[in-house]
């Protein structure tokens, strides 16, 4: 049996039905419990988010697709003034957790940010309770920069990677991940309006 082929799609290019599904995916307890803002997103808040998204100064949302099936969501914020990009991602179906989709999304995000957007820093902020994701970032070459405390009392770890650090890591990761899952037909739309 052949391995799956995956595609990346900008949420804005998807049908309205898919855009609305984003709220359901995001509100699943296993997803929102790992988010910086873990409260449920209301219908009106999601509608406002969708209206703002096409004009958002930094935010782009992409989907990892297998055929017509969305498997993962990637949020990218490209800060042009600091030449940096912050990212986050989640898998849509709970049973898909830990099976490599997160690593695949992290790989394509880093390639996009560093090779196409040419940013000088890619960073992420992760709840310190989310140890597996923090470990995953480390294996991609991210360095820990420090912690911040949220109003909730939860701790966030900021991790960052430079283009040079990524160049040192990417070949080994590429061999592994592309063997698992070729990613074809990537439709990145650069951040910012």
């Amino acid at each position: 049996m052949n391995r799956s082929e995956y595609h990346i799609r900008n949420l804005l290019m998807m049908e309205d039905q898919v855009k609305w599904h984003l709220r359901e995916w995001r509100n699943q307890p296993f997803v929102r419990n790992q988010m910086i803002q873990s409260e449920e997103i209301s219908e009106s808040a999601h509608e406002a988010y969708l209206q703002k998204l096409p004009h958002h100064p930094t935010r782009q949302v992409y989907l990892l697709m297998e055929g017509e099936t969305p498997l993962g969501v990637m949020n990218l914020d490209w800060f042009r003034e600091t030449d940096s990009l912050e990212f986050g991602f989640f898998v849509i179906r709970e049973h898909d957790q830990y099976r490599g989709l997160g690593a695949l999304m992290e790989y394509v995000i880093l390639e996009h940010a560093i090779n196409e957007l040419a940013v000088n820093e890619v960073f992420c902020r992760t709840l310190t309770t989310n140890e597996k994701t923090i470990a995953l970032h480390r294996k991609f070459g991210f360095q820990s920069l420090g912690k911040e405390t949220l109003e909730t009392g939860n701790l966030l770890l900021r991790q960052s990677i430079s283009p040079q650090e990524w160049q040192d890591k990417k070949d080994g990761l590429k061999r592994m991940l592309m063997r698992m899952a070729p990613v074809t037909d990537i439709q990145w739309q650069n951040g910012g309006s």
Binding site: M1, N2, R3, S4, H95, D96, Q97, Y98, R99, G100, L101, G102, A103, K132, T133, A135, L136, R138, K139, F140, L173, M176, L177, R179, M180
Partner: protein, 103 residues
């Protein structure tokens, strides 16, 4: 297709885990045991470890038995009992694939 003893495949999975451990930094190494949870919320593997282990095991199967198997496809994740959860289940899944019953 090949019929391989379960014990031999348990040993193969164990070798795969040891090989995976060799790739990890000291503070990331896994504490191995026969009944450890590999996959899922309670599992020891993160997303990248999992991919790495799958690749290692596919290579080991090919090297030892001359068979090419694909451990990670949708069928594996659609099974009621995830075959990646424990060493025993994973070796049983490999046995099924080698016997030609799973693909």
């Amino acid at each position: 297709m090949k019929q391989i003893e379960q014990g031999a495949l348990n040993q193969l999975v164990w070798e795969g885990l040891e090989e995976l451990n060799d790739t990890l930094e000291d503070d990331q190494k896994l504490t191995l045991s026969q009944d450890m949870a590999l996959f899922g919320k309670e599992g020891v593997l993160d997303s990248l470890d999992f991919v790495n282990l799958v690749m290692i095991l596919e290579d080991l199967v090919h090297d030892k038995y001359g068979e090419s198997i694909t451990l990670m496809d949708e069928k594996a994740f659609s099974q009621k009992h995830n075959p990646f959860h424990k060493i025993d289940a994973l070796s049983m899944y490999i046995k099924t694939l080698l016997a030609g019953d799973g693909q």
